[in-house]
Symmetry: C3
Subunit: 352 residues, 3 copies
């Protein structure tokens, strides 16, 4: 088999002479695989090969075209891959139900950028998601330490929220950096699938952020209208860098119909040579759904290169009530009232 | 994340020294997103982010290998992306039913080309589709002005035609240009999924075209055998260029079982600097299915570069009978007998 | 449309200067399309455009990063395409059931390689599959001569084996070449989808191979635990090269619950200029399922270049009992007790 080899550009921009000068297409991706040993009260443990313990496996294409006069067009198509099975990801075409065939459902956007900022359309991260990522949370939304365990919404009253991470059929405006301040507002609806005359599946949200040399703070809120009960997601995140250490704090609230969950997280990351030690502790208060819970997560990431790292993490989720709703993931949920769930994982993450 | 940057070749062929000289692989695509305000008699309007208003979003790989002696091999795999949701497209594996997982279902072909023309196999456009595209129709089959609204077949008597655009399991022969004349013939069947001994899902069609300096004319017809009633598609298209203007005429007929729809379109496109004004007017006569209807479409496309354009279009479909079958798309169909449907869209199209 | 052209590297490694020296990403694929005339006792014949007659159509990305100190990271994501319909492939996320959306389900692995060999995780070929490929069998597992017809397992007692080709959620160790000897061991389970406390879907297998200048021999065995009855696959393959000829022998056994099938194949391949003549004869003995059968296959492959070939093959499967279980594929199975099945195919295979 003849092979097409693509040059890897580590900081190297390959430029072509087109009608309007500079353009480039970037092919990129991440592969993440590991092993997980998961335990939960009342059920047998599972040892398994798993994916995405450190970073979500993905592949994509993106490119920017300089249109002249400070105007740029940027496209971005990026899809998930279940690296342990080769399966593609899911999407929600109407922001109401989950659907298969989410080929580029991590992000599929087209934007026009200029001094005014960016107007961007398509399927994209909601402004309210950003604070749950590694932008604030030491573990982001991956692996047993996953912010999603306690900061994602709990389905209630017939509403399963779909917009706590991304929204389809969105149009957004992102300001440029204005003296450290930036804002991101988004409107999205159920698309052409929308039932005429209803607001079912419509998302409106905004995020305001401030970034100084060693300090960041950001607040976001968004509301999705559902015929079965509206969903509101709000959060505030802050980080502070002190030499090799980074401290983080995250508050988040999810209201689903008449229920709510509120969580508070304190986190720390510490660089030691090519490694990073990380820890997060989260408490959750539930109202009308699930139960109160706490989560402790500790981990270590060791870089073998800029592109490749080994990682390990341990996390324990302790349910405080009979709901035993929460777990560290890995397919197990405790069945004993007030039960806990724990997981230990080791893995490799490789970017390309 | 380390990034793989691919050089953009605007007319630049990157050539490698292989066993048989020249070969290249091209990665290509289009991203198209916009907003649509759609209205229809008897139902509430919808305002929504939509995709493919100007050109169908896609991504693909294609390549040609020079085999020596004038012989070339060409492969082409191209898939649709719902740019507003990240979802992949659909296909029909047997030319009878629609099916998901149409990863490269816009086109997946392998051909051998030479002085004799080309023999091409796989999933491909049917010869009868060509006249509905921008090769003739000012709006092609995209957006509110979409030729598909009145030139696509209407399901009847248990038959939902699948071959008015593409056919799976096809083998085709395309002549070279013979003094302005060219022909395209195709045979396709239901593939290995075919019920033995039946012709269900079998397509046979042909197109004959003539191209002069400022004038083109083309006629095509194709028949697909269905157990529930055969489907026949026929059309004739002509274009005439006069300086900055292009005039177009399209006649098309779809017979589904014992029913039929016939449509006539006159269109005009006019270049003004970096912009193009376009308009089309279509009348449809229905027999045994749906109802008579007319469609008016006007639009404007403004090129920001060779690769990027802004566009807007308005279209109105007026149903003449109680079927109220036809609309401009966007998820709405009139519910009032004789009702109409209209849509106004704005968007951005970017090729890569 | 502006086109991104990728340079074709025929033995040319494009290297970039990164943090740890050498890295590359390879985009690769195969397109294979042809026509098949299939016949089977008791049913009407089918003539059809088919895919994968010589080699499975695929596309993928793979890359290797040199981490220094002899250590390398390698990722590999590769998916199937039904070249006649554009559809993507299937996977089995739990090694128990088949599932759609197998975007990169031919292989999705991440490995660390060094002097010690390779540790590799993800969805990959099982060690027991290798002997069924063209590594031993003249026709590999493609087309009418396909080793899979008699060497793949037959579902029985509620168990449909899924691991005779690949396993999801696997971790494997591959030794380096040790004086001609090499070994491959793999463990895989049902992943996070596993029912806690059960071994349903768990595969364990190993392969030991020896390679001399003109001679290879390899033995493999693997067991998959299923709640409905375990599945065991074992085989021994040997090849011997004599100038332009290669002789091959394959023994394989599949036990599904209390049933079994055993097959023996003798094969020959003979190079004549740019062509290869190939033939294989297989006998199968069945116990408790299906029926005894024999398969004869003959074929010819003519290379037009290193990347492109024309091929033809004929095969006949003769069922010896009332099960009439076996066929040459192409969607037909005999319905007459003791019936046979035959197929003649012509096609083109192109690698990119």
């Amino acid at each position: 088999m003849t092979k097409t080899k693509l040059s890897m550009a580590v900081g190297l921009a390959i430029v072509a002479a087109g009608a309007n000068a500079q353009s480039s297409v970037t092919l990129f991706g991440v592969a993440d695989l590991g092993i997980l040993s998961a335990r939960a009260s009342g059920v047998a443990g599972v040892n398994s090969v798993i994916t995405d313990g450190n970073t979500s496996t993905r592949f994509g294409l993106r490119g920017t075209e300089d249109l002249g006069g400070g105007l740029k067009a940027q496209f971005w198509i990026e899809g998930a891959v279940s690296m342990d099975t080769g399966a593609s990801g899911t999407t929600s075409v109407d922001n109401i139900a989950s659907s298969a065939n989410g080929l580029f459902a991590r992000r599929s956007t087209l934007g026009l950028q200029g001094n005014f900022g960016e107007v961007r359309m398509g399927r994209d991260y909601t402004p309210t998601f950003n604070n749950l990522t590694t932008a604030v949370h030491p573990f982001g939304t991956n692996g047993v330490g996953n912010a999603g365990q306690l900061f994602y919404p709990v389905a209630a009253g017939g509403t399963t929220p779909r917009t706590h991470v991304r929204a389809s059929n969105s149009i957004a405006y992102l300001t440029p950096n204005l003296g450290g301040f930036s804002a991101h507002v988004m409107w999205a609806n159920a698309g052409a699938a929308a039932a005429a005359g209803t607001d079912n599946g419509r998302y409106v949200g905004a995020r305001l952020a401030y970034r100084a040399k060693d300090f960041t703070v950001s607040a976001a809120t968004g509301k999705t209208e559902y015929a079965t009960g509206d969903y509101t997601q709000s959060n505030i995140g802050a980080t502070y860098r002190m030499g090799p250490a980074r401290l983080s704090y995250l508050w988040g609230q999810n209201k689903v119909g008449v229920t709510s969950t509120k969580a508070n997280m304190i986190g720390v990351q510490y660089q030691i040579g090519k490694g990073e030690v990380r820890a997060a502790f989260t408490t959750l208060k539930a109202k009308g759904v699930a139960n109160d819970a706490t989560q402790l997560a500790v981990g270590y990431v060791h870089s073998l290169s800029k592109r490749t790292a080994l990682y390990t993490a341990y996390s324990n989720v302790d349910n405080k009530g009979v709901g035993t709703r929460f777990s560290v993931g890995g397919g197990l949920r405790p069945t004993t009232p007030g039960g806990n769930s724990s997981g230990l994982e080791f893995g490799v993450r490789h970017s390309f």
